[in-house]
Every structure is written in C-alpha cells, then in structure tokens.
C-alpha cells in the first residue's frame, strides 16, 4: 500500500503550500470586542479552509475566537461569512503570502 493512501492531516496539507509569511504585517485582523459582543454563530471557524480561526480555550481570552494569519490561503471566506464586520480583511503585501505552483 502506498503511503498516499493514508489521509493527510490539514497541517500536512498546508505544509505542501508555499507561503511566504510577512512577519511585520498581519493582513487580516479580527476585532475581539465585536466577536465578544455580537457573535453567536462563529461562521469564520466553519468557513475557513485552513483552520485559521479556532475557539478560544481558557478564560483569559479577549474574545470567543482566536485567529492566526500564518496559514491563510487568501480565499476571503472569513470576510464574506462574518455577519458583524469583525474581520478586517486585506490582501498581503506584494510578494508575500501564498504562492501556488500547481493549482
């Protein structure tokens, strides 16, 4: 049986995609105040294909959801599904972010 028959985890899948991270600029930011005050559906958690949005664990968190832009595939799903305008969405700066080679 070839190794490809074993399903890859999302982390392993994301490792295949070339991403040049801009460590000085988060192209997407969420507003935890808005999330905390308004959100009950957490659509970003379900819509993101790269699992960049996760439910907060622990009580010290600023809001119900935490976000990390590093694995972002720049698809814009989170911007579109957020009904509260909590996602401040921009594209990464020129030359940064995903670099697809086979898609």
């Amino acid at each position: 049986m070839s190794k490809s028959n074993k399903p890859k985890t999302l982390e392993e899948k994301l490792d295949l995609t070339k991403i040049t991270t801009d460590h000085n600029y988060a192209h997407i930011e969420i507003n935890p105040e808005i999330c905390k005050a308004k959100c009950t559906t957490y659509d970003c958690v379900y819509g993101c294909p790269a699992d960049c949005y996760k439910f907060t664990e622990g009580e010290e968190a600023e809001g119900p959801v935490v976000f990390d832009y590093v694995a972002c595939l720049e698809c814009s799903a989170c911007r579109l599904v957020c009904p509260h305008g909590s996602v401040d969405w921009k594209y990464p700066k020129g030359g940064f972010g995903v670099e697809f080679k086979h898609s």
Partner: protein, 431 residues
C-alpha cells in the same frame, strides 16, 4: 497619453482577464501596465481548471503549437451522482473533440497564466509582479490611477481584474460587500499521478483528457466536486455554498475530507500523491449579482465582475475572464480615442460586452444559480437515482416487473413527489 499620466491603461491583476485586456491593448500600441500582487502571474490563482480552445485560439492563434500553453484536450466528460455507498455516472466519450483548436483544454493556472502573461509582455505590455494595489486614486468623482504602498501610478483608464473578492470594486463604489449566499468556497488538491496511469485509468490516448463533475455526498451542502486530468497531475476539489456550510456548523476542511471517504473518490485518487492544497472563493451569484461593470475612469472584468457561470453542466470562469478582458481591451481602445473617460464613454464596454457570448450565457442561465442551490439536488436526487438503479438491477429470484412499472413504483415509494415536481419545473425554467 497626456503628460500627467504614467500610462494609458493600468490593469490590476495579471490573471486571464487582465492579461487578455493587456494583450489587446499592447498589440494596438497602447501604453499598458499590469500590476500583479503575486510573485508571478497565476501565483494566487485557483481553478478547476479548463477553458475553451476556440476562445484561447482567438487570443493566441495556434496556441496548441506551444506545449506550455495547456495540459490535455478534453475528450471525456463525466457527471457523477454520489449517494451514501453508491454512484451513478454519465460518461460522455467525445473523441471528435480531438481536433484543433480543441473544444476544451485543461490548464495549470500558475503555468498557464504565466505563459499568457509572457505573450502580453512580448506584445509590449509592462507587467509588474509583487505589486499590491491597495487603493484607487481619485480626482473628484473620477478614478485616475492606483496606489501601491506609497507609490502612485496615474492612468487614463483603470481596469479592475482583481479576481473574486475584489476589494477595489467596492472601493470604486461599483458594488457593496457581497453576501455569502452569492459566493461559494472552493478547496482544491493537486495530485501527482504518472501520465501512463492517468491514461490507463480513464481510457485516454496520449494528451486526451477527462473532466468529472461530482454531485452529492457533501453533507447536503449545495456545491459539488470536480476532477480534471493534467499531463501528470490531477486537479481535484470540492465547491461548497458558504451560507449553508456555516449554517450547518460544519468545518469546510472536514467536509472536504469526508467527501474523499467515498469509494468513488478513493478510486479516482488511488496511488496519487498530493502535492498542493489551495482554496479560493467563487462568485456564483451569476447575472443578477454582478457589480456595475464601468464607472468614471474604470472598467471591471473577469471574476471581479462576477462573470462566473454555474449552470450544472457548465461551470465557467476562465472563458468569461478571457472574453470580458478582450472586450474591455477593445472598448478601451475606443474610449482612449475619445479622450473622455467618464461613464458616458466607459459604458462602451458594457455595450460591447452585451454582444459577447459571455454576457449572453450569463443572461440565459440567470436563474440557474438559484435553482442549483436547491438542496434536493445534493441528497434526494443522488439517493433516488442510485437507489433506482439498484432496484432495477438487483436479482433476487422473484419474477421481474416491467421496468417502467418498477421505476414509477420506486419513485412513488421514495416520496416527496411535490418536491421532485418543483425541482423538475425549476430545471425546465432555469437550465
């Protein structure tokens, strides 16, 4: 070009729409710049991907003579319905599509887009990669250029070819932020599979290609899978209606993984090694949800213009991107001659576009997108059809009934006849 402008035309986005416009303009000797946020043309782009040979041939005559232009010419189209453990496939083997300029060809976007961009560069267009256009430059109510970081680039005319999720279309006040129900999320995996294996698996001769649209087994979420053969890779993915996905509280990557658990998909991907994962949103609202296509000093083309057709049998974006880019290029030549860049003149683009197959197709299928969101299509219909075949083909030692009697009996037993009737009427009205 007047003294104060850097270029006649500035195009944002070096995908098929932007490059197609650039190619037409550069060939006419117009000073054109294309600004691309990716490391190269196609670096940010995700597609199935297939396009029409005749459209590409119009833009680049005899494109097939250059082996970098495409992967395989499509001779087989399959449409598959999946239910829990079964599938039914329609397999259209159309070998007469093997003649140039080919009916359809598969492409790998980073490769194809770059190839197309090279053609525009050869024609004299300037392409600037690594350049993110963040904003537009205005003079009162007129767009007169683009901004990237601190740099300002002035142009008589700006063409927005930014793709799906165009921030500039919103900044140009040509559309509001789209609703999730008018967008779909596409996730894609590219797999390495030896050329010989691809050809054996799908009964293809050298360079012939197969595409497969796959409906059902997506947790009842409207959308569908796709599978396209390239030279020695295959493109596989799943498209999901975002509004339904989030409403069902299902995580997109998990729905994708479970889709791959179906035995039909497992066979498609057997022995194939994943080499890339990508995702993109797709404007699927169709004709009724396109932004304004022109404004003062600006035209909109391709996905940014919402020019994507979803009509089940036809799912198209690149063709419309190429066509709308070409029409915008031709319109821009006329607009530049008038030296007037207000809406009064830029509307030439829409007038011309209305004559194109792209606009006409979108109009013909204006009801299709809504119809294809009918959830019965994604669970009830695949269940009904696969179950019907099972019933008709099962041998159990009892005398058979007539096929028609058996089929009608089965459909009645499955129930929801009213829903089915509504679905059929919807299909007649929209497809």
């Amino acid at each position: 070009m007047s003294e104060e402008f850097d270029f006649d035309v500035a195009i944002v986005g070096a995908g098929p729409a932007g490059i197609s416009a650039a190619l037409i303009l550069a060939k006419a000797g117009i000073e054109t710049v294309v600004l691309e946020r990716g490391q190269y043309s196609g670096a940010k782009n995700v597609s199935g991907a297939a396009l029409y040979g005749p459209i590409l041939n119009e833009l680049i005559p005899n494109y097939w003579e250059d082996e970098n232009s495409f992967e395989r010419y499509l001779t087989t189209k399959k449409i598959t319905l999946l239910s829990e453990s079964k599938s039914v496939t329609i397999d259209a083997d159309l070998r007469n599509f093997n003649q140039v300029p080919y009916n359809g060809v598969t492409v790998i976007r980073p490769k194809f887009d770059r190839w197309l961009a090279d053609k525009a560069e050869e024609a004299g267009a300037m392409i600037l990669p690594d350049t993110m256009v963040e904003d537009l430059v205005w003079n009162d109510k007129q767009i007169i250029g683009v901004k990237s970081g601190d740099e300002v680039l002035k142009a008589n005319l700006v063409i927005i070819a930014e793709g799906a999720n165009s921030m500039l279309v919103e900044k140009a006040k040509l559309a509001k932020k789209p609703k999730p129900r008018h967008y779909a999320l596409g996730m894609k995996e590219t797999y390495k599979l030896p050329k010989k294996k691809i050809e054996e698996r799908f009964h293809l001769d050298d360079n012939e290609g197969m595409s497969n649209e796959i409906i059902g087994y997506s947790k009842g979420i409207p959308g569908g899978g796709f599978y396209y053969t390239n030279q020695d890779t295959v493109s596989f993915g799943l498209i999901l209606n975002m509004a339904v996905l989030t409403k069902k509280k299902l995580k997109a990557p998990e729905v994708f993984e479970e889709f791959k658990e179906h035995s039909y998909i497992k066979k498609l991907l057997k022995d194939a090694e994943m080499i890339e994962y990508s995702a993109h949103t797709i404007p699927k609202g169709g004709f009724k949800h396109m932004p304004k296509l022109y404004g003062n000093g600006v035209l909109v083309v391709g996905d940014a213009a919402g020019m994507v057709l979803n009509a089940g049998l036809y799912i198209e974006g690149i063709n419309f991107a190429l066509e709308s880019g070409k029409v915008a290029g031709e319109a821009a030549i006329e607009i530049l001659q008038t030296n007037n860049y207000t809406k009064k003149q830029t509307k030439i683009y829409k007038k011309k576009l209305k004559e194109s197959f792209a606009y006409k197709d979108l109009k013909t299928f204006k009801r299709a997108s809504h119809f294809l969101d009918n959830r019965m299509m994604f669970t009830y219909v695949p269940d009904l059809l696969t179950g019907l075949f099972e019933k008709l083909l099962r041998n159990n030692g009892y005398p058979r009934k007539r096929i028609v009697t058996s089929a009608i009996g089965y459909v009645f037993k499955k129930g929801n006849l009213f829903g089915l009737l509504k679905l059929l009427i919807g299909a007649v009205r929209s497809l």
